[in-house]
């Protein structure tokens, strides 16, 4: 791609992100000259550049938006919700086209006629009136919009300039170079120059006077030279503020730098070991200095990868606005700690979970204005985002002053769903009850909306946050609101870790999972529960795991003292028995080849101070292998559920949805890994298959309608019927091995539990059999069969079959 086009894309994308926020802010403060000017500039720049680069469609859209904005800027139109929506739509269109340019280097076929029409219509409302007189006429009957900042300058603009604005709104302001315009602006602002005089001078320049504005003003005796000098200084000061010198650097280069610094840190560690061993004082001093420099360098390079969390949050004002509108709620977004910095990789990783939490808060947390009024609350709900550093971690809180979580309702739901038994539920502390909402399949929402409430989300939020070594916690007061607290590490590239050994093998354990170190007497400290070793830790039993057994290493010689590392995985504590415990070190995480890590026991590897490689243990993987976490899941979802299932005709969770032609269908919930809604614009054609980009991969889409037809009845077109009619597609994402497949359904209805006592043979392909779920006849869909019939390769059919078998039994 052309260097210029690339630059254009980077710059424009950044500008567009800012534009979204500015437009939303403008809606609350419609007369802000500053905001309007900034928005206008951005769009104007895009328009100008794409005209130059030859993207005609993009230019047309940007031009229409610009015309509208110039009306707004000149006070001929006042921003309202309609206008904001139209402008946001324009921004979206521009963004889509930029994406198009990114992938195809053209701005696409879509000329956005509807959008252009709309923009023109909104524009037409104002420009139909004769312009110079209309300005005051239009402003007069709308006293609701007093422009406080510079009230009169607009009207006092002399006719020459105004006429020009009217005739060519797009370029009028830019004919006067920015610095010339600015110096005049400052003078007027400070009351040192009358606007008429400025216009006169500008006109002078227009006529071909090549002198600088200041010179003209002085020559005409309109302004004192010292005022001009002062204005010049202000201008320079402003310039310095706004343009902190920056350089664009490719992320790959930073990554490379990071790697090299990592190597340097390792070399330094080795050097220090030599220095400590030796007697040479000079060498020791030198290595100390080297140590300091390397440490500082490491910190600084880490900083280059740091980005303020605001980069993620910046999308939220728009999200919140759109969402609140669609839910008919009033929500005010407050953000605190926007500058809190995080490693880039982490920023990427928390984007989705945070968005989900924000959506959750608006959809379920904050009530509608009427309910809030009845409850004696301000009709406008407050959604607050807060970020701050604490103890080497970043804390992010998402709190709302909505309805809060109903402990009893969650308890009831959890018992209903067989997640816990009634007896267990009564014993659970409030705090632990809240934790239940992070389990799959547990939604307390009364109804499933297209925003959330399908009971899949919070589970995913938790998994994603834990994947990057973070934790998530909920606090809530019923009726008062809820706060979700997310804690995440600052960076993933260099982590503090505890070094332990088993035989001659060294392993690193990430500090985040580490709770404490315990030394046990081998004879008295360990007790057995039916052969499983445990120890007592402050009165509670702690399950023990032998590292060498889990890793199939040689049995160590017996010793009197046992070293136990107490670890936390998934909120569960366990003790890891190791041969010896060494110090903690900052280690550089290097990824392992997937093929080496089929057992998920290692989180990576690191090169130690002595140049040897140590493997980093994945505490969660280890706990899973040792059965610690599976045990917990069994406890919460399995055992008690099993007991209940046996007594009540093996109840199972089903996902109900409307299939082709609205017919009622279901799949077992375990066959579905996620529910998604994708805008139809994201659906692309790959060969003769419909696909969508999903989490960085290409996901084939399967239309139930098509897959369920008799083979001979199919035509070769693979149209997804909903594509033409709907804005977005609802789909069940099913994982086949590592491949995600989207099964497009008409509408997702609910998640229910039922025992399926009735069975009726299937009437068409792709259906296991018909049954009665929640009182209505429902077809149970055979997902693997559907995928096979749709030609999607089923990598891991046995697993899928097992799921279905389970469903069938």
């Amino acid at each position: 791609m052309d260097e210029i086009v690339k630059d254009f894309l980077i710059e424009s994308n950044e500008n567009l992100d800012r534009l979204d926020q500015e437009l939303v802010r403008l809606e609350t403060d419609p007369t802000s000259k500053e905001l309007l000017a900034s928005i206008f500039r951005t769009i104007h720049t895009i328009k100008g550049s794409c005209g130059f680069l030859g993207f005609a469609n993009l230019e047309a859209v940007a031009h229409a938006g610009e015309s509208l904005l110039s009306k707004l800027r000149d006070g001929k139109l006042v921003l309202d919700a309609d206008l904001t929506s139209a402008l946001l739509e324009m921004v979206d269109a521009v963004r889509r086209m930029l994406r198009e340019i990114q992938s195809t280097e053209t701005d696409g076929e879509n000329k956005y006629p509807k959008l252009l029409e709309k923009l023109k219509r909104l524009l037409g409302g104002a420009s139909a009136l004769p312009v110079p007189v209309a300005t005051s006429e239009l402003l007069a009957p709308q006293p609701a919009t007093p422009s406080v900042g510079a009230p009169s300058t607009e009207q006092e603009t002399p006719p020459a300039k105004k006429a020009e604005v009217a005739a060519e709104p797009a370029t009028a302001n830019l004919k006067y170079g920015p610095s010339r315009g600015k110096i005049g602006g400052i003078l007027v602002e400070r009351g040192r120059l009358r606007p008429e005089s400025l216009a006169l001078a500008l006109q002078e320049q227009e006529r071909g006077d090549r002198r600088r504005l200041g010179e003209i003003l002085t020559a005409l005796g309109l302004c004192r030279p010292e005022d001009i000098a002062a204005a010049q200084q202000i201008l320079e000061a402003r310039g310095q503020d706004s343009t902190v010198e920056t350089v664009r650097v490719a992320i790959t280069l930073l990554d490379r730098l990071m790697n090299l610094v990592g190597e340097l840190v390792l070399a330094r560690n080795q050097l220090l070991q030599y220095a400590h061993a030796g007697q040479d004082g000079g060498f020791q001093a030198l290595s100390q200095r080297m140590n300091l420099i390397a440490t500082e360098l490491q910190e600084e390079v880490m900083k280059t990868r740091m980005q303020p969390i605001g980069n993620v949050w910046n999308k939220f004002p728009r999200t919140v606005r759109d969402l609140a509108k669609s839910c008919n709620k009033e929500v005010r977004l407050e953000m605190e700690g926007k500058d809190t910095e995080l490693d880039k990789t982490i920023i990427e990783a928390i984007k989705d979970p945070l968005t989900h939490l924000v959506r959750n808060s608006i959809d379920h947390g904050i009530e509608s204005p009427e309910i809030r009024r009845r409850a004696g609350k301000d009709p406008t709900g407050v959604l607050k985002l807060r970020a701050f550093h604490e103890g080497g971690e970043v804390n992010i809180e998402i709190s709302d002053d909505g309805a809060g979580l109903d402990v009893e309702k969650i308890r009831k739901k959890a018992i209903e769903r067989g997640v816990i038994s009634a007896e267990q539920a009564s014993r659970l502390q409030e705090r632990d009850v809240f934790k239940l909402i992070f389990l799959p399949g547990l939604s307390t929402a009364e109804k499933v909306t297209n925003v959330s409430g399908r009971g899949v989300g919070m589970d995913v939020v938790r998994t994603n946050i834990e994947k990057i070594g973070g934790t998530v916690d909920v606090q809530s007061t019923f009726g008062r609101g809820a706060t979700v607290k997310v804690k995440i590490p600052l960076t993933l590239a260099i982590i503090p870790a505890l070094i332990v050994t088993s035989g001659s093998n060294r392993f690193a354990i990430p500090q985040v999972a580490l709770m404490e170190l315990v030394s046990l007497n081998a004879k008295e400290g360990v007790e057995m529960v039916h052969g499983a070793p445990v120890c007592r830790l402050r009165g509670n039993l702690l399950p023990l795991v032998h590292l060498h057994r889990e890793l199939k290493l040689a049995e160590p010689p017996p010793s009197d003292v046992l070293n136990v590392v107490v670890l936390r995985a998934d909120e569960r504590l366990f003790g890891l028995m190791v041969d010896s415990i060494h110090d903690t070190q900052e280690i550089v995480v290097k990824p392992l080849r997937k093929q080496l890590n089929t057992t998920k026991m290692f989180a990576g590897a690191s090169i130690m101070g002595d140049g040897r490689v140590a493997l980093i243990l994945d505490v969660v993987g280890l706990a899973q292998r040792a059965g610690i976490i599976a045990e917990l899941k069994d406890k919460l979802t399995g055992e008690t559920a099993k007991e209940q299932q046996e007594s009540a005709h093996s109840k199972q969770m089903f996902l109900l949805f409307a299939g082709p032609g609205g017919s009622r269908m279901a799949v077992p919930l375990d066959a579905v890994s996620r529910l998604e809604e994708l805008p139809t614009s994201q659906v692309e054609l790959n060969g003769n298959q419909w696909v969508a980009q999903y989490r960085g991969k290409i996901m084939p889409l399967v239309s139930l309608d098509w897959a369920m037809k008799e083979r001979r009845a199919r035509r070769r077109d693979t149209t997804i019927p909903a594509l033409s009619s709907a804005d977005s597609l609802q789909m069940l994402v099913c994982n086949q091995g590592s491949q995600a497949v989207g099964v497009v359904v008409e509408r997702i209805l609910d998640i229910v539990e039922d025992s399926m006592t009735v069975r009726y043979p299937a009437s068409r392909p792709g259906v296991l059999y018909s049954t009665v779920i929640s009182g209505s006849v429902t077809e149970l869909i055979d997902i693997p069969a559907i995928l096979v019939s749709a030609g999607v390769e089923v990598e891991n059919a046995p697993v899928a079959e097992k799921v279905m078998e389970k469903a069938a039994n």
């Binding site: 290097k590 080849r593 080496l596 089929t598 057992t599 090169i607 493997l615």
Partner: protein, 147 residues
């Protein structure tokens, strides 16, 4: 003009093997290796090659030859494959050989399937055969997972 190719050759159990010279990053004497518990048996371990983490593959095991005896000398040939560098453990390093395309022949059908996919064919040299190794295929280590 005949097309010629250059191979980096090495010996395994007396057999002459070759990998395309361009794919070879370097050849080095054995370094300290870190075992990876639970990894496929063809993986000997991880090597720190000047800060680069390299997986070492025991080619004898991979090619289903006799296992290496304790204390037997070995050499490492580091090759580049699409997802990084892999070190191949071999018995002894040979010369760089230049061969003509005309001496190439496909492997005989009698070769076991599992091995045949790794051996692209042989070049008939004077007095011996040069087995052409498909490095990409040889670096796939999924097979046996020692649980």
């Amino acid at each position: 003009m005949a097309l010629t190719k250059q191979f980096c050759s090495f010996y395994l159990q007396g057999l002459l093997f070759g990998v395309v010279l361009e794919s070879v990053q370097e050849v080095y004497v054995p370094l300290e290796m870190t075992r990876v518990p639970l990894a496929p048996s063809v993986v000997s371990g991880l090597i720190n090659l000047r800060g680069q983490l390299v997986t070492a593959v025991d080619l004898r095991r991979r090619l289903e030859l006799e296992p290496r005896q304790e204390g037997m000398e070995s050499m490492n040939v580091v090759v580049q494959v699409p997802d990084g560098a892999v070190s191949l453990l071999v018995d002894e390093i040979g010369d760089v050989v230049e061969v003509d395309d005309s001496s190439f022949e496909c492997p005989p059908e009698t070769l076991p399937r599992s091995v045949r996919e790794m051996i692209m064919g042989v070049h008939k040299l004077e007095g011996q055969l040069l087995h052409v190794l498909d490095t990409q295929k040889a670096c796939i280590m999924e097979e046996t997972i020692d649980r």
